[in-house]
């Protein structure tokens, strides 16, 4: 598993880039009385992180990345400043896991001369959202990530820029272009069905 954002030091660095809220440092005593059990963090933000992972990777690969995201977050959690924006921190970790996943997928050999195994279970009925996942998949990475982190993860354009690199204006543009492209491909397709 990548330790990109798994260690305290790196989480601190990310927070220093704009997720750390105000600059005042809590005292040890304040910290001791305020850090919630990690279970509460999962309950509050698990759904958002799942939506982000699904938008970025599709439904089938989202589970692994969701789990890796929360294991890494849990490792770093005791060092998290108590005024940190927890959701932005989690989406940032998820982003690194998503990038790792894409990299690993590119390295994975694709079997060409093996017959596909018969499916053990019938594929689930295509839902209303499958066309949308497909439309998301067709977006360029940067647009898909900007849409996922801003519209589903709740990050501001400035925070998205910290995660993806580049300027706030570029992040805003990637997000707007992504939504425009989604409207085109997804809504037109729906209209024709």
């Amino acid at each position: 598993m990548s330790e990109l954002v798994g260690s305290r030091g790196c989480a601190g660095r990310l927070l220093g880039q704009g997720f750390g809220g105000q600059t005042s440092q809590p005292t040890a005593v304040e910290r001791l009385s305020k850090v919630k059990p990690f279970d509460d963090v999962v309950a509050e933000h698990g759904g958002t992180v799942l939506r982000v992972c699904r938008a970025a990777l599709g439904q089938s690969d989202a589970d692994d990345v969701w789990t890796e995201t929360f294991v890494s977050a849990m490792r770093a959690y005791p060092g998290l400043p108590d005024d940190a924006n927890v959701e932005a921190w989690l989406v940032t970790i998820a982003h690194h896991k998503i990038i790792d996943f894409h990299r690993a997928a590119r390295r994975r050999p694709v079997p060409v001369d093996v017959l596909p195994e018969p499916a053990a279970e019938p594929a689930p009925e295509p839902g209303e959202h499958d066309a949308l996942y497909e439309a998301l998949r067709q977006l360029p990475d940067k647009q898909r990530h900007a849409v996922a982190y801003h519209h589903l993860g709740g990050l501001s354009h400035r925070e998205v820029a910290h995660v993806l690199g580049g300027t706030e204006a570029a992040a805003r543009r990637a997000s707007a272009d992504g939504i425009k492209a989604l409207r085109r491909t997804y809504q037109q397709e729906r209209a024709h069905r």
Partner: protein, 203 residues
Amino acid sequence: MSEHTPDEVLSSLPSDDPPALARLRDRLAEASDLADVLDVAYRTLDTPVGRLLVASTGDGLVRVAYAREGHDAVLQALADRISPRVLRAPRRLDPVARQLEEYFTGRRTSFDLALDYRLASGFRRDVLQHLREIAYGHTGSYAQVAVAAGRPRAVRAVGSACARNPLPVVVPCHRVIRSDGALGEYVGGPDAKRTLLVLEGAA
């Protein structure tokens, strides 16, 4: 952070998926344990004395809490005093759950579990260790426990150690009653104390 409503084009994405999240939280409990980042695992159990919360560290069972203690407050205290890396992880507490179930159905008279006493220190910890010498079906007085713990005059301190026992039921502070035969106080309330003593045939 400002609230963002997903753009209308994204509105067909499922906004929440409770079955998937429940499954993922179970997976996280296993994965975090394997990755050695799960410091406090907990679960709840329904018993004849109400819903009990049980929590363990890598060293053993660290907390048994009655509903009247407020389970949210108990979890927050575990986060404060041990580590905030707290997750509901039922499987890690399977042996505890099994032994408690056997106890409450009368099939078990002593617990064979590793215990982590870190939430009690000094004399309070000594008292807890001596409580385990009072056998199933028997009772002792606060004064007798004070003698056994080597401080015969510390009867009140014994009472306070029992009242703050982090491991009730398993460390049997319910077997300590007043010298005049009255049941006395109990962290789980007087009804729970009576229920346990009746179950054990001691009252």
